[in-house]
Symmetry: C2
Subunit: 500 residues, 2 copies
Amino acid sequence: METITQIISRSPITNKDYPLPRDTNDKKGIENFLSLHSGKKVVVVQGLGFVGSVMALVVANALTEEYAVIGVDLPTVPSYWKICSINEGIFPVRASDPKIEQYYKNALKKKNYYATYDSYAYSKADIIIIDINLDVKKAENSDDDYNVDLGPFKKAIESIGDNCKPDVLVLVETTVPPGTSEKIVKPLLKDCLKKRNLSADELKVGHSYERVMPGPKYIDSIQNFYRVFAGTDERSADAVEKFLRTVIKTDEYPLTKLGNTNATEMAKVLENSFRAMNIAFIVEWSRFAEEAGVDLYEVVNAIRMRPTHKNIMLPGLGVGGYCLTKDALLASWARMNLFNSDERLEQSEKGVEINDKMPLYAFEYLKSQYKDSLKDKKVLLLGVSYLNDVGDTRYTPVEGFYDRLEAEGCEIALHDPHVLFWEEKDLSPNADIDVLLKQQYDIIVITTGHKEYRGNPSLIEKLMQQPSAFLYDTIGVLSRNEISTLSAKHKVKVIGRGDL
Amino acid sequence: METITQIISRSPITNKDYPLPRDTNDKKGIENFLSLHSGKKVVVVQGLGFVGSVMALVVANALTEEYAVIGVDLPTVPSYWKICSINEGIFPVRASDPKIEQYYKNALKKKNYYATYDSYAYSKADIIIIDINLDVKKAENSDDDYNVDLGPFKKAIESIGDNCKPDVLVLVETTVPPGTSEKIVKPLLKDCLKKRNLSADELKVGHSYERVMPGPKYIDSIQNFYRVFAGTDERSADAVEKFLRTVIKTDEYPLTKLGNTNATEMAKVLENSFRAMNIAFIVEWSRFAEEAGVDLYEVVNAIRMRPTHKNIMLPGLGVGGYCLTKDALLASWARMNLFNSDERLEQSEKGVEINDKMPLYAFEYLKSQYKDSLKDKKVLLLGVSYLNDVGDTRYTPVEGFYDRLEAEGCEIALHDPHVLFWEEKDLSPNADIDVLLKQQYDIIVITTGHKEYRGNPSLIEKLMQQPSAFLYDTIGVLSRNEISTLSAKHKVKVIGRGDL
């Protein structure tokens, strides 16, 4: 008798289990789907994550053309359920944007959005959009050590090259190290075509970066937003432009064409490095403000009166999400490895390094202000996601903060109205505030600035049942007046408000 | 027979020589002046530099009160001529702001602006405004080594404490390390009063930072601009507020009061560190852009379409002036030395460090692009000041660039319509463009973005008489089209435009 161990991919939405397929053949499924859409251009989206799954949805709802859309991902534990879910009529991304539901219903009606794990899909594509991740591995025990492993990315490109038509348009949307489209993607695809004895003369490769924001304007962040694009040559640039005009409202949000793909790739990582650096800047100053007994909020508000200084940030718990935590490192890595510079992007790397320490700083500040031991203390964290009013937990700084509380022996409760399941920690935050109100917490920490907490000091006060309850607002959700009122009965601490 | 060596202070405006005075007694002059203004409050401004001399002028033209104003500076070679000049009816600061002339004429008519070198003036003051410099000494041969010497600043405070009335208001406007008013100025003044057997109970010390911009809106940058202020106690804060309301248009530009002087002192250096860091950011990326063949100008313009990213800067020759080149260092020094932190402000220090290297980078880029030896080449630098349309040469990055060209054996000509005399280098730029047009230059470098050069490609073209003339625009004065036109005949290079 043979024992077969089935590996399962579970949907966090329906809790349904999907055994991973034994082989990767879905030729029949793909051909069945395409037989419904003969004559239409076929767009294949590689990667069904936060960007790819929704980008595919937008293409299935293109403005001026009817496409047959296939989403491709790997038949792995974290991804396989998404493929099944899409084909079963349940969209795999939960979001507060009502357009998601509406667009998905429309795609179901038109039956023009299919998902598969079979690379055979690439052989049918007129346009392939690359929306897979390209990760940076940060060293656990070192401040500034990290590595960019292009291996998985290259493998994904090869799976396209081994199957694609020779005249396909490959549009890279992944945030990549500058230089990648020209120096990695195009040569790899050419090599693959050569091995297949096909000419690469008609191959088109371009790059256009997305600015997708999972949240209430998820769809708009793709369809109604400025796009920057370039081609590895003029033909490619033209093909990218033609395609983008069919899916993006370019009359309201004009396209910006740059001179080459190095430029568009650089624009994306520069943009995010700029933001990360601005956050790092205020992190350092908020710690100085605490030391000097200065309320950094009033300082920043005073400075913001100057138009040139409007976008100075305010301090918080940390930086999360998929972009700001790594894009500067991608860029610096590219400078040294793809362009052979002997210099890093020091200032930008420093920004990421400082931001990575924020949850630690916030924890240390709590420790220094709470004074009593944290062991066995009941702690409630309000907010798990890294962004206000959004259920995205990727690289959330709450994780580092949570881990340290846990290591200290705290008993931690979590609340987040937008996060039913915290994938990275395998935890379910308690969305029911009434249950929480029945508990008594020693320490309440506002860790995300959701609107449920912002401007809601009466909720906060109700949660502070014990007179000794300690409130720590890491986001600056409370105003000066609200802090004063709460301070009458409780100890209240805010990062960057050293004189309170 | 006795030989007397007279030390001379020369006015760069009139070229008149003033022998330094033998003693510092000007009691008679001060009393004569004050006898004209009995009943008026006496405001003494310490320091007659770019800020103090004009601040005194604004106070002499106060909006809602008549003051008797005395400017005090040291009888030294760089300062003594200013004292004499003010008393002889020639304002020591040249500026394109017509209000300077108008305000000075008015003060001459009212005879309410006197200048002296005698500390006796402080004994007559109701209000003393501190506008002296507090410098950072940077190490010559090290990237990140610097020192803040409070010695001269403390000496200046003591000269006040040794003479002032016990109930004087001392308003610090100097950009100081955060903590200075509370931890240095107030204790020093108290000590002095104690030594004089006077009570310090009525002493008032406050801080309010100026945002003076020498240039076409010089006066407005004091009188019509947002002010941030604080006192070392409530009484002091009230006195500062009352005074500022008499000189600043506070109905249009409301005052912002902060919780303590640490906060106002921090606000100023934070504001300037933010700007310096943003410049440093783009310096690094412009060098990466060159390496990657990317036009950073088009990248930045594409990114600026996002409101949150509007103030990304563009690359240039470097950072100059008295603030951005040092304020982050003052802050970091204060963090470690006045608040005993064991951490620096790394990100902000890094910004200054990178900016300081900009002229070197610009020079190295020229060398790499020019290819031929620079020895004996005729080079014309267009612009000497650090800021567009202003004649201010303090810490101008053009100096570092000039020095390197000189060391390379270039024959350098200078042009700057706003700088008659370049004090730091003891050079007179040639303001007459017709003379320059008769010369033949090998290399023309646009070093300041004055409006005379900006949008004036025909002037640039006329200056490029030799077909081999090489143009290097370090500021991005030329547009893409203008570069294309010029490139037809000449070699044109722009920092951060790697694909040209």
